[in-house]
């Protein structure tokens, strides 16, 4: 009975607020989802919708001003209550993250080899030379040409594509079961983007990792993800299989998002902005947050935040007008 097992990743009603003296914004407002080993989900949404914050919350990689609520369970561990030491053991080994900008996310004054090896040394408790050996394996795994030489290269000596491959190698160093990727290809040229995506998909399948990819790019989304979640103002407004959501988007926001890009070739197409601006996270309306921009708006939408309802088989939307 596979279904009754706790999934690898189970997020329930995740909320994140940033609170400081002159700021109180609710960035994530009740995100729930589950992910099984080997599954890939992608999170789509406008800038500022809370995608990165959601991802970081899963590893508790947020600044002290962040107040995190809800349940985060990964591999059966309750991440929200983990002690610092256990959290450190979880980061990089059970859950790994690939960042958007490999140029700034890698330490400029340490070699690629050292940066990969140090993860292995600390998590697996092996010697530095064993760590380096593993680093070499990993560079070969991510298909970096002449890997032994790159081991001693500094980040600025590699091209953007190679840097992102090295970043991926680093994320895979301790055989994570969950891989988080925050816009892993945004900083790269179009042709390199595709190579990196193909690599990620292949690795994800070969290694059976649960993967969450945040992206602005529809091409990326359908290329790598089984599941899709569309985010607006800190909430998932539509979820389902990538194919279903792409082919028959139900939520007005998703439709607006896809409108202009669905017809003219999707790969590499950035999401077109929808008229109007995203809501003020400091003062979210009591009803549907998309109401001011929604073409299907009716007064009832302002009543309360719509629930997630199953609008088609295994496809959910948060809209009172979606049957």
């Amino acid at each position: 009975m596979v279904e009754t097992q706790t999934p690898l990743v189970a997020i329930e009603d995740l909320t994140v607020r940033f609170v400081s003296r002159d700021l109180d914004i609710s960035v994530v407002n009740g995100v729930s989802f589950t992910l099984a080993a080997g599954e890939a989900m992608c999170i789509l949404g406008e800038s500022g919708s809370g995608k990165s914050v959601t991802l970081r919350a899963l590893m508790r990689l947020l600044p002290p001003a962040a107040r995190v609520g809800g349940k985060i369970s990964i591999g059966g561990l309750d991440v929200t209550t983990l002690a610092d030491g256990d959290l450190r053991r979880l980061r990089g080994s059970l859950v790994s993250m690939i960042f958007q900008e490999p140029m700034t996310a890698l330490d400029p004054v340490f070699t690629i080899g050292t940066q990969i090896a140090e993860s292995v040394v600390f998590h697996d408790g092996v010697s530095y030379s064993a760590g380096r050996k593993r680093a070499l394996e990993l560079l070969e795994l991510v298909q970096i040409p002449s890997a032994p030489r790159r081991l001693d290269a500094y980040p600025h000596e590699l091209s953007g594509g190679l840097r992102q491959r090295a970043m991926i190698a680093m994320a895979l160093a301790c055989r994570p079961r969950v891989l988080l990727a925050d816009e892993p290809t945004t900083a790269l040229d179009a042709t390199v983007q595709i190579q990196i995506l193909l690599l990620m998909r292949q690795l994800q399948r070969d290694l059976g990792m649960a993967t969450i990819i945040v992206t602005h790019d529809l091409g990326v989304a359908c290329e790598v993800a089984d599941k899709m979640a569309v985010m607006y103002a800190g909430r998932f407004v539509e979820t389902g299989s990538s194919v279903d959501v792409m082919e028959t988007p139900r939520h007005p926001y998703t439709r607006g998002l896809f409108q202009s890009t669905v017809h003219g070739g999707m790969r590499g197409a950035p999401l077109d902005p929808i008229p109007g601006s995203p809501p003020d996270l400091a003062e979210l309306p009591p009803g549907c947050a998309f109401a001011p921009r929604c073409p299907a708006y009716e007064p009832a939408c302002d009543g309360r935040v719509p629930d997630m309802v199953e609008v088609a088989r295994a496809q959910f939307a948060r809209c009172i007008r979606c049957p």
Partner: protein
């Protein structure tokens, strides 16, 4: 790397030559005739001409410069006008004495500054940070000669626990690695270390805060590295910036503080310069400044080299 080293040393040569020219020019820019101190009152023009020839002042300036620099590299900086002893035998010990004081002050000041700066940088905005900032601001703004006098009043005059003057027993001018000498070192070293401590604390704090904001630090946390390993990354990234400031501070301390050395009668370069200025002893002045500026050039070179070792982005080509 060796090639790079040689090249860097070669690059500093023009700087060193330029600096030496300035030192040379000093004697001609100084108000009054450089020989006025040696020429007796009412000397006849023949005598003056004789003295001028003896000192080589009758030659054209470029020749004078080359003669001067040629002798200088051989260790001959001429004679002191006041003591009639070779300049080197005056400047040499003074430089050593100042170095002893500088090393003590640097150890104290840099150690304190780095420690406080790291503590403040890691806890930016906290009470610890505010205390450190207050300490470093007052460290930079307290005049060190004044602090020196306060220290003398407290520890030498009132408590009588530490000597106030000189650098050895009976105010002798030789330093030995014994308790007596060390006791003489304590007060001036403290007085000299306060400003570098403040400056280093501030720059370390600023640099650490800057480094901690960088994306790669977040990556290190995302990798699950323990704090001590993250610290290694922070140190290596912060080091080049801090080293540059340290180089400047060290250079300044090596220049000796005229005021602190005078307050404590510490027979270093500052003390020597002070005497030389008042007695218009230009050869001493020139020799001291030349030696000190060569130290500055050397320190700069060392900082550059260390930086390029620490930061691979600095081109070694």
């Amino acid at each position: 790397m060796l090639l790079y080293l040689l090249r860097r040393i070669l690059y500093t040569l023009p700087i060193a030559i330029g600096v030496s020219m300035v030192c040379f020019a000093l004697i001609h820019l100084a108000p009054g005739d450089p020989l006025s101190a040696v020429i007796p009152e009412g000397a006849s023009p023949e005598v003056i001409a004789q003295i001028k020839t003896a000192y080589g002042f009758d030659q054209p300036l470029p020749i004078q410069y080359f003669n001067w620099i040629w002798r200088a590299v051989q260790g001959d900086f001429g004679m002191s006008i006041m003591t009639r002893r070779p300049v080197l035998s005056e400047v040499g010990p003074a430089v050593v004495n100042t170095m002893i004081l500088a090393v003590a002050a640097v150890t104290l000041g840099f150690g304190l500054g780095v420690g406080l700066g790291i503590a403040a940088g890691y806890t930016a905005g906290s009470p610890i940070d505010r205390v450190v900032t207050a300490i470093s601001v007052s460290g930079v703004s307290v005049p060190h000669y004044w602090l020196g006098m306060v220290l003398i009043v407290i520890f030498a005059v009132n408590l009588g626990v530490l000597p106030a003057m000189g650098m050895g027993a009976q105010g002798s001018a030789t330093f030995a690695l014994d308790w007596v000498s060390l006791r003489h070192l304590i007060l001036p070293a403290i007085a000299m270390s306060v400003i570098p401590a403040g400056i280093i604390a501030r720059s370390v704090r600023g640099t650490v805060i800057e480094v901690l904001k960088q994306d790669y630090v977040q990556t290190l946390h995302a990798k699950g590295l323990p704090g001590r390993r993250v610290f290694v990354h922070v140190v290596k990234n912060a080091a080049p910036t801090v080293l540059a400031i340290m180089g400047l501070q060290l250079a300044q301390l090596l220049g000796g503080s005229i005021l602190v050395e005078t307050v404590f009668s510490w027979p270093g370069t500052g003390f020597l310069l002070n005497t030389a200025i008042f007695t218009r002893d230009l050869p001493i002045l020139q020799g001291t400044i030349l030696v000190l500026s060569m130290f500055f050039v050397a320190i700069n070179l060392m900082v550059d080299l260390l930086q390029s070792v620490l930061d691979p982005r600095i081109k070694r080509a």
